[in-house]
């Protein structure tokens, strides 16, 4: 498998990133170099191996569903790029 310019553009779209032509060219090289190195995993037979996501078994932890005070709105809004009263302002998405 080799990464092409089309792949870079497709993945960039998925990741919501944009790149200049020069950056795309560099990314093709970098991704192929790293993915080439990763190919070595195929030397291992994992046909009968299960996946593990976490390093060890994690049990579900349950707690009572109790109402607790949450963070004050003003602290959240202070970090927002643009606000109006109690709302975060974003561009119109419906005509």
């Amino acid at each position: 498998m080799s990464v092409t310019k089309n792949d870079v553009e497709y993945v960039a779209e998925l990741a919501r990133l944009s790149f200049t032509e020069k950056e795309k060219h560099e990314l093709i090289g970098d991704l192929n170099s790293v993915l080439g190195y990763i190919e070595k995993l195929n030397e291992l037979d994992t046909k009968d191996t299960d996946i593990i996501v976490n390093p060890y078994y994690i049990e579900n932890k349950f707690r009572e569903d109790e109402v607790e005070p949450s963070m004050e709105l003003k602290y959240v809004l202070e970090n927002a790029p643009q606000i109006l009263e109690e709302y975060i302002v974003v561009p119109k998405i419906i005509e």
Partner: protein, 486 residues
């Protein structure tokens, strides 16, 4: 008396015997930071006013209660991806410039309730992605031992600040070696605990099945002190485990008679610097002299760890970093035309090169048609690597190896070749894949740069790690060497 040169446990003692005030200690470190940090570049934010207020409060508390338990009034500096209420949390990235944490991470809360003083926030590779701190969007961090050399990464400033006496204790984070590798490069003690030992609530996520908060100090006792103060179950992080936290102070004994040490031969192969190898061989002899039984072992899957790591960590990062979209917090592009454009432009302007590279790698690995070949394959290899370790821990108490194949490298030396940079973590990453605890301890110098000795323990056996590391340290003088800031 130069207070900033004292270790945390020494300061705690002096404070509790009322020979010095918490306020004096706090001031001493800010004086040190003011005179030295221009040359080091460790701090991104100094919280002097708040720290002095807290110091005064603790001095009053000591006066009233006669004793300061836990951290005992000792300062701690915190990596800038761990939330401290009211302080910035840039993660070393422009995308979070101006953001103020509205809450404390659990580890922050525990430092505060354990009578610690928070000095400020420390520089890092952007979103903890990097092995040299060269990926910080703000400034570079200098290795206190030699100014032309990197401090390691991504917690490069957390290690450098301790080595440069700018804080006795620091917190870093690890996804793949990011506490141990810089600790090795800067000649300090750094612990990566078992996955689930320390809460990540309030810590900016990178690779969620790998991330852990790590502790750094100038000796094993200091590292154990800080670890004990923050470890344990947390209802805000469901991956934390309800296994009791041992009293690590009981591990600080020299006796390791009969303890079985495995030496994984794969960690001594091609790529290991010969002079580093000599230091490690010498260290193993010290452990033998102290009564440990040493035997060579094999971890045949070691060479696959890094490949599995880059898939798993990048895939998880691409998902975790989706939250930085310019809408609710962080950088929002001024030039965006519509909603989608806000995402793309804000992210493209806000993220640095390495972060974008990893998001691209991770998104590619998770994209349709490639998921099985990359991500699923890496998770299967993860299982095999875990089994590799588990087999050996049936027989051995601990594994010993170098922390990194070489000492610190020069600025710019590995920035062109992505893979060569990644390879500096080849001995640290397997531990993250398996979720095991490990510690790096100073064990010598090569051309004036520190070498790190790595101990790898079984799950939740930080007590054994501290015992072995302490035994080694008590028999050597490396931890007493100080960097002279050029």
């Amino acid at each position: 008396m130069e207070l900033h040169k004292l270790k945390a446990h020494e300061l705690k003692k002096l404070i509790n015997s009322k020979e010095v005030k918490v306020e004096e200690v706090t001031n001493a470190f800010f004086n040190r930071i003011d005179t030295t940090d221009d040359k080091i570049g460790a701090y991104l934010y100094k919280a002097k006013e708040e720290a002095i207020l807290n110091a005064k409060r603790l001095d009053n508390k000591l006066g009233a209660e006669g004793k300061l338990e836990g951290l005992g009034g000792v300062p701690v500096a915190i990596k800038d991806n761990i939330s401290v209420k009211g302080m910035q949390n840039t993660c070393g990235s422009k995308i979070l410039e101006g953001y103020i944490s509205p809450y404390d991470a659990t580890v922050t809360e525990r430092i505060k309730s354990s009578n610690g003083i928070i000095l400020g926030k420390l520089n890092m590779d952007e979103f903890a992605m990097g092995s040299s701190n060269e990926n910080s969007a703000y400034k570079k961090v200098i290795n206190p031992w030699k100014k032309e050399y990197v401090p390691g990464g991504s917690s490069g400033a957390s290690a450098a600040a301790v080595a440069a006496f700018e804080s006795p204790l620091t917190l870093g984070t690890e996804t793949g070696g990011s506490v141990r590798q810089p600790s090795s490069f800067c000649g300090v003690v750094g612990l990566k605990p078992t996955y689930g030992r320390i809460s990540r609530y309030g810590v900016t996520a990178f690779g969620s099945t790998l991330d852990q908060v790590g502790t750094i100090g100038r000796d094993v006792e200091d590292c154990a002190l800080l670890t004990g103060a923050i470890a344990g179950i947390d209802k805000m992080d469901f991956t934390t485990v309800n296994t009791p936290v041992q009293d690590y102070s009981k591990s600080l004994i020299k006796d390791i008679k009969g303890k079985k040490i495995g030496i994984p031969e794969e960690y001594f192969g091609e790529g290991l610097d010969d002079k580093v190898r000599k230091c490690i061989d010498e260290a193993i002899r010290v452990l033998e002299d102290n009564g440990a039984i040493v035997k060579k072992i094999s971890l045949p899957l070691t060479e696959y760890s890094l490949a599995a790591y880059y898939i798993i960590s990048s895939a998880e990062a691409s998902s975790n970093l989706a939250r930085f979209d310019g809408i609710r917090f962080g950088h929002r592009s001024k030039d965006a035309l519509d909603a989608i454009d806000i995402y793309t432009k804000s992210r493209s302007e806000g993220f640095g090169k390495e972060v974008k590279r990893r998001i691209m790698l991770g998104t590619y690995a998770l994209s349709s048609g490639y998921y099985d070949a990359y991500y699923k394959k890496a998770l299967k290899v993860r299982n095999l690597i875990k089994q590799d370790f588990a087999k050996n821990f049936e027989e051995f108490d601990i594994l010993v190896s170098p922390t990194s194949p070489s000492t610190a490298f020069k600025f710019g030396e590995k920035t062109e070749d992505v893979l060569s940079m990644y390879l500096s973590d080849v001995y640290t990453v397997p531990v993250n894949i398996a979720g095991l605890p490990a510690i790096s301890v100073p064990c010598g110098f090569v051309n004036g740069l520190p070498v790190g000795l790595q101990f790898i323990g079984n799950y939740f056996r930080e007590d054994v790690l501290f015992n072995m590391a302490y035994s080694y340290e008590a028999s050597t003088d490396w931890h007493k060497k100080s960097a002279v800031i050029e």
